[in-house]
């Protein structure tokens, strides 16, 4: 069965939002190698998003194009996980400014890549040939992102007292947001039809995460229950609007521009 345009948009929005977030490090990386690394990860993610938006646009028909989907939809139309739109620092109101925290960046990239290697691995067997082709390409990229972020997770977790404390704090802050990966929603039925039962990947995801946390000497916080975020259903944090404002402003100011 072919994937719905809505499900392709979920995958594309995940990639574009995290790609945009990671690109904030461009020119500000903690060391030049990581500055380049994060820009490269963003390039992969934005490349994946483009392929998915092109495919979604083809299925939606009408005047849909990849650019319209990326630049002319508003917050409630985005289907990305809330985790991916959060700023690179601990919880603060949307307009607050503070230093970017590389620990948050690394923990998030790790938690997301650990999911996506499993999702792309399943989707490369999808009956939807175009989606399967995109998944096979993306799997290679996400595996590399996982290795990169896992490597840094170990360095920071098993590093100095400060790097350990900040990485642990980032994990405590971000891990509850991963509950959204497993929550039931209409989108999960669309994922299943496209070829992946996301909730069933939970044990494998735990295996990848626990293995790395043990090696990084980090403690996994237990989820105490409470609100599970719903970004994938269009209910976002206040942070996505700020991110989209920056990402979309140029295209909206010059809607007919081409370059």
């Amino acid at each position: 069965m072919s994937a719905t345009a809505n499900y392709l948009l979920h995958l594309a929005d995940n990639a574009v939002v995290l790609g945009q977030r990671n690109a904030e490090w461009c020119g500000h990386g903690p060391v030049i190698e990581e500055d380049i690394a994060l820009a490269n990860v963003s390039l992969d993610l934005i490349g994946q998003a483009r392929l998915l938006y092109q495919e979604a646009a083809a299925r939606l028909g009408g005047d849909a194009t990849e650019d319209r989907l990326a630049y002319f939809r508003d917050v409630p139309e985005f289907r990305n996980y809330t985790l991916l739109e959060l700023p690179h620092h601990a919880a603060l109101v949307g307009y607050a400014k503070t230093d970017l925290d590389y620990g948050v960046t690394i923990v998030r990239n790790f938690l997301y890549s650990a999911l996506m290697v499993l999702v792309w691995d399943a989707l490369q067997q999808s009956k939807d040939e175009q989606l399967a082709a995109i998944a096979a390409k993306s799997l290679k990229e996400s595996s590399y992102h996982l290795r990169h972020s896992r490597d840094w997770l170990l360095r920071l977790g098993d590093g100095t007292d400060e790097s350990h404390a900040r990485t642990q704090a980032a994990l405590d802050h971000l891990l509850p947001y991963t509950e959204e990966f497993w929550s039931a929603s209409a989108l999960e039925a669309e994922a299943l039809a496209a070829g992946v039962d996301v909730a069933a990947l939970r044990d494998q995801w735990n295996e990848i995460v626990d293995d790395a946390l043990a090696e990084a000497t980090l403690a996994r916080p237990t989820f105490a229950g409470g609100y599970v975020t719903e970004g994938k259903q269009g209910l976002h944090s206040e942070h996505l609007g700020f991110l989209l404002a920056e990402m979309q402003s140029l295209a909206r100011a010059h809607p007919q521009a081409s370059w």
Partner: protein
């Protein structure tokens, strides 16, 4: 499309023109040697050139398409350019000649095959474990090297340093 013999000749001319077309980023290897140029063939509407991206976001793809079009135009030919995703590009397709040229250019070629990295392994930890391979320095041939960054000047390369001759170098990642 003309008679069978003319179309044969056109295909041969197109291959001959494109065969020497180099990658815009690494101008010592051809697109064919890198495995980016997949096919030149007759389609429903005439000549078709099939290319495949190395990485989803490779910014050179637009340039490659323009280069293919310009190269064909210089040979008096026109083609539809098709970007094909499956099967996904792999460095396994890189020819031996291309590996030698990369080395001579100062880029260490991919040192392992990655066909086994795909799907269906016994453990999910296959995604995180990487076989340790010693990357050989393209300048002095030493395998006493160390990775300084997972990513280099382009998405397809990592940054290494030789501990013997002290030179930093790019490594074309097995992919």
């Amino acid at each position: 499309m003309g008679s069978p013999s003319t179309s044969e000749a056109t295909l041969r001319a197109a291959w001959a023109a494109l065969d020497v077309l180099c990658d815009p980023e690494i101008p010592v290897v051809t697109l064919r040697e890198l495995g980016i140029l997949r096919d030149v063939r007759w389609g429903g509407a005439g000549l078709e050139v099939v290319i495949t991206p190395t990485y989803s976001g490779c910014p050179a793809m637009g340039q490659i398409e323009d280069d293919v079009r310009a190269t064909l135009a210089a040979a008096g030919l026109q083609a539809r350019i098709i970007t094909q995703l499956a099967p996904a590009w792999t460095t396994d397709w890189m020819s031996e000649a291309a590996r030698d040229k990369l080395r001579a250019w100062g880029i260490a070629p991919p040192q392992q095959r990655c066909a086994s990295a795909q799907g269906g392994g016994a453990s999910v930890l296959r995604f995180v474990r990487q076989a340790a391979t010693a990357v050989v320095c393209p300048r002095c041939g030493s395998s006493h090297t160390v990775e300084s960054s997972h990513f280099g000047s382009t998405a397809c390369k990592a940054l290494y340093k030789c501990l013997d001759c002290q030179e930093p170098f790019d490594y074309f990642k097995p992919y």
